[in-house]
């Protein structure tokens, strides 16, 4: 869903064997929610204020030739509500009657109603309190196991990543910096950006130590040549300023793009 004037200028997005960039708008629409679904960021405003929650689950099924009867769809919507631990009563309510955590769970119910293969959760809990955040994330985690789907969690909160994900990718200024299992990333970070990111996190113990990353993120339309992180990197070398590092696998499953490790 790239809005104009943005467009995908190259590359492929593969879901199984299908290249999503080659699909027509109508085919892509069929893919959305049934195969790839989204858990939105601002759950507070992500539900249509003038529709009941259950109708908002059903209408997306209506538009995806599922061949279900009305009753079966209601059945499925109720199942989705149960899956996110919401009372079935909530299905007949309007969004303004729900609390923040309930709205987020309602959104999750919408996204999982058609058992998609991939669930993209874009900072799904950034507006929620920690306890509610934990409940919501644990709900997503349980559903993921039950349906066997993949969850892509997008976020800036490394704590949430450490608690929730199996594999993670670190991005900086539009490029991949590092990719690996969460153990790899937290115990042996390869990229200096990842290292600094982890060091800047407040942990329990070591009270009062609190580091930042000096400098500011470059503007995406004005990226530095070479490695995009070279303006802030403490280990910057000459090569970093003119040559873009290759994204390579260093140990099995652990990738990074950094000249430091290129021998």
């Amino acid at each position: 869903m790239i809005k104009t004037p943005g467009r995908i200028s190259g590359g492929q997005i593969l879901l199984g064997d299908t290249d999503l960039t080659k699909l027509s708008e109508e085919e892509m629409r069929q893919v959305r929610a049934s195969q790839i679904s989204m858990v939105p960021q601002g759950a507070i405003n992500s539900l249509n204020p003038v529709m009941r929650v259950r109708d908002q689950i059903i209408d997306s099924m209506l538009d995806h030739n599922l061949g279900l009867s009305k009753a079966e769809m209601i059945e499925r919507a109720n199942a989705a509500l149960e899956a996110v631990e919401l009372n079935l009563k909530v299905g007949r309510m309007y969004p303004h009657e729900l609390s923040g955590g309930m709205k987020q769970r309602a959104c999750i119910a919408i996204s999982i109603a058609m058992s998609p293969q991939v669930i993209i959760a874009d900072e799904p809990t950034s507006a929620l309190d920690v306890v509610t955040q934990r409940q919501v994330m644990q709900t997503i985690g349980r559903l993921q196991e039950r349906m066997g789907s993949a969850v892509i969690l997008i976020g800036h909160d490394m704590g949430l990543m450490a608690q929730f994900v199996n594999r993670m990718a670190v991005m900086y200024a539009g490029s991949l910096a590092e990719l690996g299992s969460v153990q790899d990333i937290f115990t042996h970070p390869l990229h200096p950006y990842t290292q600094m990111l982890i060091e800047s996190l407040p942990v329990l113990g070591n009270r009062g130590v609190f580091k930042g990353i000096p400098g500011i993120t470059p503007l995406l339309r004005d990226l530095p040549p070479g490695c995009v992180f070279n303006t802030r990197c403490p280990h910057v070398m000459d090569v970093c300023r003119h040559k873009t590092p290759v994204f390579k696998e260093y140990t099995p499953g652990h990738w990074a793009a950094c000249h430091l490790h290129e021998k």
């Binding site: 009657e97 920690v130 934990r134 704590g159 600094m196 009062g208």
Partner: protein, 344 residues
């Protein structure tokens, strides 16, 4: 006993019926500068507390005292003194600037109204000094409009303004929650310098226990307008006694693979059922240890350890600290944070 600011049995009800603060008492002694965290989730009343300390809200019941005098009955000169001595840093570092003026406006008005300088050059000099000590270059920031500066710069300007005014109490309402993570350290460091160098007591209002843990000396944990637990920040965070604080700390997503979420099972909250008029302990509905008496009347503050109190009947055998003496916890020698804030 000279309390700069004191809240006595303060209750705040809003027209909508929500009770933002329920019979809260505590005092801030300006002679023992410290950073006190007021921590809580949304709806805990922490922002109401901040607004009340700043004199922007009146309590529905109870009194707020400034230097021993009731807030509403200050004389003109006392009012001016209060305005100067109790200052704030807000959450949104953009909205505090009037878009019509350059950022200098917030300094100039303060200088003019509180007569901080005798001449324009002296004023300019003092403003520039304040900017430099929060790590800003005056020539890069003054004379600009707020939208021409980054969020970090804007927030540091607000801190610089506090520095210029040398208040006795600074209310910092979520000062870093809208600032880029990489700049948080700088701002928190400036706050700590305010306390250490100028002796400013800081009320650090936050929902984020991790930053509270790193910058504060003391902490008050609020839940739906009532104190759940309070004490030295180190003790409370490392060894929480109240079930609510335990739940909160257990739910923090620590970036630590060895410390996984959810040691404690969650009691599902059906948010609709919690009523504002509930008697007894506010947390009873979600508490895994809830007892019959928890529903009857709110528990007093039990001294569960040295410099740590919890409002919970689980500690009934411990001595009770009278509500209004909550402020006494925050006086005297404080164990300073061990580490140092640093920049990578």
């Amino acid at each position: 006993m000279s309390n700069l600011l004191e809240l006595k049995n303060v209750t705040k009800k809003f027209k909508t019926g929500t009770v933002a603060l329920d019979n809260l008492s505590f005092a801030i002694d300006a002679n023992a500068p410290s950073i006190i965290a007021v921590a809580g989730e949304s709806g805990s009343g922490k922002t109401t507390l901040a607004m009340m300390a700043l004199g922007f809200l009146d309590p529905s019941e109870g009194t707020v005292l400034y230097k021993g005098k009731v807030m509403g009955k200050l004389s003109g000169a006392e009012r001016v003194a209060f305005r100067k001595e109790v200052q704030a840093v807000f959450q949104d570092p953009f909205a505090v600037y009037n878009p019509f003026y350059k950022v200098d406006h917030i300094f100039e008005v303060a200088v003019a109204n509180f007569k901080l300088a005798n001449s324009r050059t002296e004023a300019r000099k003092r403003i520039e000094e304040a900017l430099v000590s929060v790590g800003l270059r005056p020539e890069e920031t003054l004379g600009r409009f707020p939208h021409q500066l980054s969020g970090g710069q804007r927030q540091r300007l607000v801190v610089a303004r506090a520095l210029l005014l040398r208040p006795q109490l600074l209310v910092a309402d979520e000062p870093v929650s809208m600032v880029d993570a990489s700049l948080r350290a700088t701002i928190l460091e400036s706050l700590r310098k305010l306390k250490d160098d100028l002796g400013v007591t800081i009320l650090y209002i936050t929902h984020d226990l991790t930053t509270a843990y790193h910058v504060c000396d003391h902490i008050i944990v609020l839940y739906r307008g009532a104190v759940m637990e309070a004490g030295d920040v180190e003790t409370v965070i490392a060894n929480p006694q109240h079930p609510y604080t335990q739940l909160l700390i257990d739910s923090i997503p620590w970036p630590d693979l060895t410390r996984k979420w959810g040691q404690q099972e969650l009691v599902a909250i059906d948010d609709i059922t919690i009523k504002a008029t509930q008697k007894g302990c506010k947390f009873a509905g979600r508490c895994p240890h809830v007892m019959e008496k928890c529903w009857q009347s709110p528990p007093p503050l039990y001294e569960v350890a040295g410099r740590q109190v919890a409002s919970c009947y689980l500690y009934e055998d411990k001595p009770v600290l009278p509500n209004e003496e909550l402020g006494s916890l925050f006086k005297g020698q404080v164990k300073a944070p061990t580490g140092q804030m640093a920049h990578g």
